[in-house]
């Protein structure tokens, strides 16, 4: 690589421009994928809902006799698991269709769960609803965007890319001479300039969001990614981590058995007292050292969807009682059990996951996420557009070949990933609901389509590859509602009619992405017919800078 002279240029700004170009280029493909899937992950619940076939996951509202359920849960634990030091009862677990669930820790310390019949208290094995499709749903996007669907190794790769993104953001700002003026500058249909303006506009308009989302993304995995302070103060490995965890929380939440027995107070009555004090419905009860005079009964409030809260921190309220039913500890909604770092972590994770502010904030995140995606996409395209007009010669004799590879990777990373995402939704409808492990086949289709798109981008000339993949993307996105109608009989209009905004929203978003792809396709083809020279033709459509997120 002969990029050294540029690096050794005269000033700080030059070295930062060099850094922005190269850190940006090598990580833009990965970051584009992280940003697009992360943006889709904002709406993982509606995507889940759509992929499960539009079946409503919430059980029909029933009258729930909570006092009786608490008593049945308590009786079951006393009968079957009396020797466990911690009992946990969820009288109406809304993750499980308001089932009565109990939890304890087994001999290996793993959380174990049982379903109880709310009228008899007998344990039963839940059967899955027949109509549900087995699917990872929107969770694939969540999992991919923070660890590439590859576990811990993926988490480290994403973290490295995020640091590179922060470096590219800082060096990008330094490089940028007229950050305020460019805010208002947009020169459409001017080839390279348009791509630069689009790149700047997407970046500058959403800059605070990009910093926030990158920093909070790293910070919520900080204990895994930067364990040095924990190791320094508590020792290495699992032992050090365990010592850290024990030290972090106040000792009062881990009562030591006194050896004296005591009766467990009426949980229904305690739950009513807790609700008055917390202003939240009680969703769970834990009892440490049950039946001992030192026992601690904690009542936990339900989350935000059960009542608006003005806090960014998503923690629910908690009240602890002792064996005499007196309050020993209270935590208001939004507060945390421990100190400043715990609260910082809680707020950063809520900030990262749009865990506050409801649907409006989710849409703001979606749009800012698309802006970030567009920033990566336009940046990657800009690199090549610049060099298609004026050869940079950065790679010596291999320059032409390297450019060819970069072009192919651009296509595969941008339209190819778009195809993989929409193909995942298609696979959801086309893979038979009865197929064993069908959810794995959906994920395999996602990666297979992406691989095919990469192969296609390598085999075709760059321009052909762009055109063909944009066309395919437009078709798959625009036809998705028809596919749904053909396979499930459900359709967009009836979804809107019955007020199912989640299912209809997925299809409307698909139509929006499809239209964007179609417009880009037409603009690119128009430009191609205007100028026969293949060197200039792709510098056209600035529209794609807005929709490169699809």
């Amino acid at each position: 690589m002969t990029i050294r002279p540029a690096l050794q240029g005269p000033g700080f700004r030059q070295s930062m421009a060099w850094l922005h170009t190269w850190a940006g280029l090598w990580f833009s493909w990965l970051l584009f994928a992280i940003f697009l899937t992360g943006t889709l992950a904002v709406f993982h619940d509606p995507i889940n809902h759509w992929m499960k076939g539009g079946v409503s996951t919430a059980a029909a509202e029933r009258t729930i006799d909570r006092d009786r359920r608490l008593a049945l849960g308590l009786a079951y634990m006393a009968r079957e698991h009396a020797d466990r030091p911690m009992w946990e009862i969820w009288p109406a677990n809304d993750d499980e269709g308001n089932a009565l669930n109990v939890f304890w820790k087994d001999d290996q310390g793993h959380y174990t769960k049982a379903w109880l019949d709310p009228s008899t208290g007998q344990e039963y094995k839940p059967v899955k609803a027949v109509q549900m499709r087995e699917t990872l749903g929107g969770h694939l996007f969540v999992d991919f965007h923070y660890r590439l669907h590859a576990g811990l190794a993926g988490l480290w790769i994403v973290a490295a890319a995020t640091v590179a993104m922060l470096v590219a953001l800082v060096s990008g700002i330094v490089t940028h001479k007229r950050i305020f003026k460019d805010f208002f500058t947009f020169r459409p249909a001017k080839g390279q300039r348009s791509w630069l303006d689009g790149h700047n506009a997407a970046a500058v308009l959403s800059l605070p969001f990009q910093f926030m989302i990158a920093f909070s993304g790293i910070a919520i995995s900080a204990l895994t990614l930067f364990p040095a302070p924990i190791i320094a103060h508590y020792g290495p490995g699992d032992a050090g981590r365990a010592a850290f965890r024990t030290d972090r929380l106040p000792a009062s939440i881990r009562p030591v058995a006194s050896g004296k027995t005591a009766g467990i107070p009426d949980l229904g009555q305690l739950a009513r007292r807790a609700e008055v004090q917390l202003g939240q419905p009680v969703s769970a009860v834990t009892i440490d050292q049950p039946g001992d005079a030192a026992m601690r009964i904690a009542m936990y409030g339900a989350g935000e969807e059960h009542g608006a809260r003005p806090h960014i921190s998503r923690t629910t309220g908690m009240i602890a009682f002792d064996a005499d039913s007196s309050v020993t500890d209270i935590r208001r909604p939004g507060e945390v059990a421990a100190g400043a770092a715990s609260l910082t972590n809680e707020i950063l994770s809520s900030l990262h996951m749009a865990g506050f502010g409801g649907i409006v904030v989710k849409w703001i995140y979606f749009l800012c996420g698309l802006a970030g995606t567009a920033m990566m996409g336009t940046g990657a395209v800009l690199f090549m557009v610049k060099r298609r007009n004026r050869h940079g010669g950065e790679f010596g004799a291999a320059t032409a070949r390297t450019y060819r590879v970069i072009e192919a990777l651009n296509v595969a990373a941008i339209t190819g990933l778009g195809l993989a995402c929409i193909g995942y939704l298609w696979a959801n409808r086309l893979i038979p609901a009865s197929l064993a492990h069908r959810e794995l086949w959906e994920v395999r289709m996602f990666f297979a389509i992406w691989a095919i798109a990469l192969a296609h981008a390598c085999l075709r000339s760059p321009l052909r590859a762009w055109l063909e993949q944009l066309a395919a993307l437009a078709v798959f996105c625009l036809v998705l509602p028809v596919l749904n109608l053909a396979t499930t009989g459900d359709q967009l209009v009836s979804g809107l009619w019955r007020g199912d905004a989640e299912a209809a929203g997925v299809e409307l978003a698909s139509l929006m992405f499809g239209s964007g792809a179609l417009l880009s396709f037409m603009a690119l083809r128009h430009k191609l017919s205007m100028s026969p020279s293949p060197r200039k033709c792709k510098t056209a459509s600035v529209k794609r800078s807005e929709v490169s997120g699809c």
Binding site: L7, F12, V167, P229, D247, T344
Partner: protein, 87 residues
């Protein structure tokens, strides 16, 4: 070769610098020890980014490397020794 060296310095040197800085923060923040340690981890990435930019901004390779390694040693040593002095 030089570019590769700077990349490696930014990656691994930057990580070491961030870890050293986080350890020092954990030692000096006036909080419960577990909270201070966690806060150090949360803030660490900022130091990694600053160090990575340093690795590419300083023209002399020698100045860049000696500054980075020196900072890692000083911050790391302070972070490890200070808690023992205080205790």
């Amino acid at each position: 070769m030089i570019v590769l060296g700077r990349c490696l310095a930014a990656m691994f040197g930057g990580y070491a610098f961030a870890s050293a800085a986080a350890t020092l923060i954990a030692a000096v923040l006036p909080m419960a020890q577990a909270e201070a340690a966690w806060m150090g981890s949360i803030l660490a990435v900022i130091f990694h980014v600053v160090a990575a930019i340093w690795c590419f901004a300083i023209r002399s390779m020698w100045t860049m490397l000696s500054g980075l390694i020196g900072a890692i040693i000083v911050l790391g040593a302070l972070g490890l020794v200070l808690p023992k002095l205080i205790a």
